[in-house]
Amino acid sequence: MKRKLLTGNGAAAWGARLAATDYIPAFPITPQTEIIEALGNWIDTDEMDARMVTLESEHSMITSAGAAAATGVRVFSATSSQGLLYGMEMLYTVAGWRAPFVLVNVSRGLSSPITLEPDHNDILAARDSGFLQIHCSTCQEVLDSTLMAFRLGEDPRVRLPVIVNLDGFYLSFTREPVEIPDETAARQFVGDYDPENIRFRASSPVSQAVAVLGGSPYSYFRYESHLAAQNGLAVYDEIATEFAERFGRSYTAIESYRTDDAELVFVMMGSFATKAREAVDRLRENGQAVGLLRPRLLRPFPAQHFQQLLAGKKGVAVIDQNISMGMGGVLHSELASALYGQPESPRILLSFIGGLGGRDISLEEFFEISAVTQRAVEEGQVPPPRLLYTESELREVRKLQAVAKVERDELGEKK
């Protein structure tokens, strides 16, 4: 095992390489492109024995990934943001084929307006597709999760495609020390792919998921996918345990940081959660009993794990790096539904929206979130959801609006 500096993109590529991927359909998009560039280079230099095909769109790319997976080979692909959405029709479709493969998504905020920097609205748009989702917070975790994702998706109790999510910029372009597992050890862990009865061949056509009318068979197939996704919880726990035994790095379905004796708990996903970790350490030094929960698995949703980990806690602050228009933070809603009616659930569950389009979340903001949550616990009242947005940010927007107004007036004069 060697430790070297790798970007999140590089780590994802290493995961695909060490898993002995056979086929990689590809289409470039910022900030993901480096993944397929790395894989392309290794194929060129014979360091990797795989076939890469560049498609004309993400829609075709995901179709191609699903079709290749249906022949029983090991498939890897990667995309981001607008690309993921462009492939959305096929994302739902291929998940229904029950042919597993691994897709990396490099999170990036969605249009409009357009941005390159990360938040989680892209990946959450795929929430209900049937793909399982693993969310990462370090480059090491990207590599390790990619390996685990193949095991998870290919498990006979699951047999669904899996998305590994990493944040654009904060992981994709950021180098960190990463231990690259020994090739033999990685191969042994991932194992050979047994596609069971997945045997689609060009020479012997079969219908993959035919039309079903009347709702009854449809309901059956859809619910079976749901049950398979739910099986993913127990399967993931097994795989993570085995991974920890083999490689010494533990990835429970929810990362739990200093929560045992915590009264208040931050809940957030993705790379910014490491900032929350730092804030927890600082708050602890100041005598405040604060911890952090970070779901790695978002689908299946580890509801029971959350119920157990949050039982008896006084207050919870969910920090969502996403926004569901007209509702608010998605993770907040999901957590509320998991905790509702549980006898030991915390009564105080706050919602914060922050980090949209890569907007930074400062250490001071985490301190303040903790203070606001503490106050809510003392007063027994939950304040309304809060967007992390400061006076100086609004002032900058006002300046831009002033420029836009002058331009509009000038243009109006011309016409």
Partner: protein, 310 residues
Amino acid sequence: MYRIRFHGRGGQGMKTASRILGTAFFLQGYEVQDAPRYGAERRGAPIFAYVRADETPINERGIITQADLVIVADDSLVPVPGAGVLAGVDKHTVILINSDESPEVWKQRLNISGKVFTLPVETEDRAELRFIGATCTGAAAKLLGVITRESLSQAIEEELGDLGHAVVEKNLHKALTAFDLMKKHAGCVSTMEKTSAANYTRPAWVELPFEDARISAPSIHAAANSVQVKTGLWRTQRPVIDYEHCSGCWWVCSTFCPDGAINVTEQGLPDIDYDHCKGCMVCVAQCPPHAIHAIAEEVAQAEEAKGGQA
């Protein structure tokens, strides 16, 4: 934790510089994070890259708001507000500028009390500027004082090895010369105390008010982009209309212009908006009577300076 920010222009090797420094720290046994900051960038646009190094795993992420060391490869960026060179600079921040002017001049001009060092510009030869990243990194490594000559050399070999022996040698020479040049100031970069949760500045959060879509929709009702953004600065080639040969069809060039930077005068003649023409040369290729010519921007500007018409 050390927090270091590199500022330069696209093409000056700031990403590579940050990687060399990151790798040098890593070889020295540090935990490291290094990253470039891309936008919709191009050659010549302001970019930055950053490095964090600590003895324990790093939880902090994203841009460095308060740096211990700020390295400026191109001093023309200092007055550019968008480049953010001086963001979060305080008296503990060490600044290293590649500039002909003295540290005293910079201290006075920027009104800063911290340490400023300059790297004398060795050459007017723009081809040599390719090595400015290595020079900056070499000087930075010495100012930090915790990176050995050996780690710096090995980092350069690791990061640039793919480019061949000659490139490695040239960069090694530049970096090590700058490293030795800063000998007197070894270790002058200090790190900051950790932010305490006991007494922090509360964020001034605001409630965003609802605003009418006529104000709050992200639409700019002008061709291409805000007129305030002078995208004409991007140009390396300039299209110039030869009105002697322009047939006055007007719509071909103005329709094909992907930036809407060709207006049509009341006389029915096309007129290029050089503030916003990016120099893609699509009009040159499309003009039916071949009446639009491509001229090197540098040449066109020199002509203008002489008072002539480009």
